[in-house]
Symmetry: C2
Subunit: 556 residues, 2 copies
């Protein structure tokens, strides 16, 4: 019996920016594209990382033929160390640089020996059950990025991955338009396309335009140059190295992930530096300021990154000195605007000249703008289209764009994480919805922080906590000690003695007002509820704040 | 004896966006320009508002001759209800619309009878001690905005307030370039200029350009139009009303501050609406969808605002229905990007067509871009220049801009809040620094939330809290009850029974290991410290989290 449909199950990246993960099912075969991570937003108090919920795959592990990775950014590979163990370590396929980045990650998690990592190159084919995966080169803000085509018995599925078209990329390898044209000519059943930058008209400029800006800055910089960018943006690092070479400057790298990635990229041949040009951060003072470039992490204002430490005068080796020029070669990821802004202000305050996107052309996006999205859709001419990688508004706008190019409305699906989309040769529909969403990594634990813990953290963060501790006589139900009141994050206790004392008296009064029976319930829940209610009302009336109130009753 | 110097003391708005407040001192006279508020950033947990620290003025209240207000935005008037009482209610001077907005605010705080509010118009002069204040019309994203010139015996001080040059403003009243030229010709000793938009090259477009966008949207909208903007942006509201009139739509207003401001603006003649065009939100269903416009608050994604409630399907009267078009006629204030984004996504999800800055031309800034900043500097040609209203980077860039126009470096001061700047006829210098900074409003209290409470809230928000409660025998130092452990925001207690039980055992063990004397110290501080240390280490080892640990010991 031939199977006449494909199932697509997005487990991340639809309706959000981050943790991209797409499940493609044909019959008994499951193929996964990307296993990314998302960084917590401000409502996810104390959470370190957000990974996809893969409970949908729990009873289907044996059917997973492979995990295909489009490129080495965190939002495409970052959850591998958490998710691969849950899926019994299916084989992973990626290009060489991507593998290098995954390796670093797996080593940190001591998983390197458990994972089968296969290197593929654009043009390669991999047999995965009844399907065959192929890879086409695209451009992105990292070298060695590919999109994926999956030949299934009922038609070709294309997943673009993150992409843009750069006709003059830094590594000299433009997106393979010829192959994309051929794939389109051969016929595409369904295309899933990156929607991140659908709001921007026109074309995303080539990485090459940054060279001019770097040239201008390097030509005029009187002292050292510090440049912060994403640690994975190897092509940007290459541009800095090339410019430094022209201006006779040595280059040092600061920040652990930058150092790791650079070393790996040099070893694999993705970063080319003449011998002697790379110096250690410890040695930069052996050179005159105008001979030095420092490439570092911290373009997002991350608290423990190199540039943030430098800006906070908290870096072990590097202090801003007069004449320093600092380049932030990145744009703030949404949510990071304030921390980036703080970094820039601190650097200016210490006398540095600061160049950043907005006043200087020192970054370009890695994602396709509208005209490139149209180009991709026109090359592939898919029968069905499903926008991926984007908040809901991006998906809607990308769908509209596809519609404007002639794809019928009924052939376009705007789906979200957990939707099951069934595609046959002549139909596409949303048939079901399965568990999906956010699993939180906090410290060593994965998944134990849920809505209740987060809600508590939120309440605590707003108005703090107030504890009421009582020791009661088990027999008589009379208080033997307390109530004692302790609070944190509510009021400054030393200045609020009067308020807290009168709160204490209210509790005593309330206890006295309770009947003996109510007081001596076996779990003291009446007493606790009474305390909560009494204090909640009193404190709100006095302060208009609502601290968490936590009564603790001990029995003696 | 003639006094030969002016003192400038910025108490807010320098090195930050918000809570603008400038103190100008000449001899015994103090004049204050603006008394604004700032909205808390994500590090100010649970804080409602941030107001300037005016302790510098505590012993100088009797010298304050007046408070001059440039315009009615929150970051210029929002702290009046908190600060005026601290300064013994000095007289306030503002234009008519600004006064209307201040009135609404003072009524809410039941202060309206205590404040002397004087209405001034551009061109008026007000005698303030030895100085005379004059006012010149500027354009901004609110009508009736003025800049201030203060004639002192040693020269003229100009404060631009927030401004841009709009040659075709909605209210037909462009900035008074003629007067500015005259002021410049007469000679300006020092100018303080708005730096907010110094990063943007060129000119800020006229408010008028929005009309075209509105026209296009109104012409094609199949159903209702909802438009969210700042409640104080009366000229934008006028534009919506004018467009609605052309397309035969009635207008309803949603959101308390929008309704209050609109009513006041109509009464004062700043908003013109034909009779019958204004309908109540309750009545919109009496009209066909294509006859309705709803103007509402919520352009910043504020949790309790009208549009946010609508997006969350939580508004009492308004639900998104098919065919609705929603216009966000505002850009997100830094820090609000995520909440605005959430609102847009929710509206799309419910099937609305959403127009917002980035995909549609529905907002223009109220601040001068580089060419306008140059125009202002060229009109006024001040001897000394001090950039105001901006983060540190904006101030630095504005200073560079002034330098590029020929103002000598030594005549420009980049100052921050609390700096004292002394200006004589031929010198400017930073002479001292006084207390300044953030005072937090949280609920009913002003100023009681300080660094300690905030630090506690931060810790609580990250990893929660764990309380250890013990009842000890006063005589023997032996535990009579407990230790009991209660936690919130740390782990989900039901799933962590094992961890908490073994934490409990650790505490008992630690107690047993302590000598009798250590245990029975009068304040139990040894016991508490031991518990903190033991549990801190154990819990970090087990979870890599650092909850706040709070031991409570009761004596019986």
């Amino acid at each position: 019996m031939t199977i006449d449909k494909i199932k697509l199950v997005p487990l991340g990246g639809l309706g959000e920016i981050g943790k991209n993960m797409m499940v493609v099912e044909y019959g008994n075969d499951i193929i996964i594209v990307d296993v990314g991570v998302m960084f917590p937003d401000e409502e996810m108090y104390g959470v370190d990382l957000v990974i996809p919920d893969v409970s949908y795959l729990a009873d289907k592990k044996h059917r997973i033929r492979g995990v295909l990775i489009t490129h080495g950014h965190e939002d495409h590979v970052g959850s591998l160390p958490y998710i691969l163990p849950l899926l019994d370590f299916p084989p992973v396929y990626s290009t060489r640089l991507t593998q290098g980045l995954i390796n670093i990650k797996l080593k940190e998690h001591r998983l390197i020996d458990k994972v089968e990592l296969n290197v593929i190159a654009p043009g390669d084919e991999v047999k995965l059950g009844a399907c065959t995966a192929g890879f086409f080169r695209v451009n992105h803000s990292i070298p060695d990025a590919v999109g994926i085509m999956l030949n299934t018995p009922i038609g070709t599925v294309v997943h673009t991955g993150d992409y843009k078209f750069d006709y003059t990329p830094v590594d000299g390898k433009p997106a393979d338009i010829g192959l994309l044209g051929k794939i389109g000519n051969d016929g595409v059943l369904i295309m899933m396309g990156d929607s991140t930058r659908v709001e921007t008209p026109g074309y995303t400029p080539s990485e090459r335009v940054i060279n001019d800006s770097f040239d201008k800055i390097f030509a005029n910089a009187p002292g050292r140059i510090l440049l912060a960018t994403f640690a994975s943006l190897i092509s940007r690092v290459q541009q800095v190295v090339d410019t430094a070479l022209r201006y006779d400057r040595v280059v040092a790298f600061a920040g652990r992930s930058m150092q790791n990635n650079v070393q790996m990229a040099i070893e694999l041949g993705y970063l080319n530096m003449p011998k002697g040009m790379l110096v250690r951060v410890e040695d930069i003072n052996k050179f005159r300021p105008e001979q030095v470039v420092i490439v570092c992490t911290g373009s997002q204002g991350e608290p423990t990154s190199a540039l943030t430490r430098i800006a906070n005068q908290d870096h072990r080796q590097i202090r801003i000195q007069p004449g320093d020029s600092v380049i932030l070669s990145a744009t703030p990821v949404p949510g990071n605007e304030k921390s980036v802004s703080r970094t820039i202000n601190s650097l200016f305050r210490q006398g540095a000249e600061v160049y950043y996107q907005g006043i200087s052309n020192v970054h370009v996006s890695g994602h396709a703008a509208q005209e490139e999205l149209k180009l991709m859709l026109s090359l592939l001419r898919p029968r069905f289209f499903m926008p991926v990688h984007g908040e809901y508004r991006h998906l809607v706008l990308h769908a509209k764009l596809a519609y404007s190019l002639g794809i019928p409305e009924e052939n376009i699906v705007v789906a979200e994480n957990g939707d099951i989309i069934e595609v046959t040769e002549d139909s596409i529909k949303l048939t079901d919805h399965v568990a999906s969403g956010n699993v939180f990594v906090d410290g060593l634990s994965v998944g134990d922080v849920g809505q209740i813990v987060l809600r508590d953290r939120k309440v605590l963060s707003q108005d703090g906590i107030l504890m009421v501790v009582l020791t009661m006589d088990r027999e008589t139900g009379e208080p033997l000690a307390g109530p004692d009141i302790v609070s944190r994050g509510f009021v400054y206790m030393r200045d609020a003695e009067e308020l807290l004392e009168s709160a204490r008296l209210r509790v005593l009064e309330a206890l006295r007002g309770m009947g003996h029976n109510a007081r001596s319930g076996s779990d003291w829940s009446f007493v606790k509820d009474k305390i909560k209610q009494t204090l909640g009302e009193y404190l709100y009336e006095q302060t208009h704040r609502r601290p968490m109130i936590l009564p603790v009753v001990m029995e003696v």
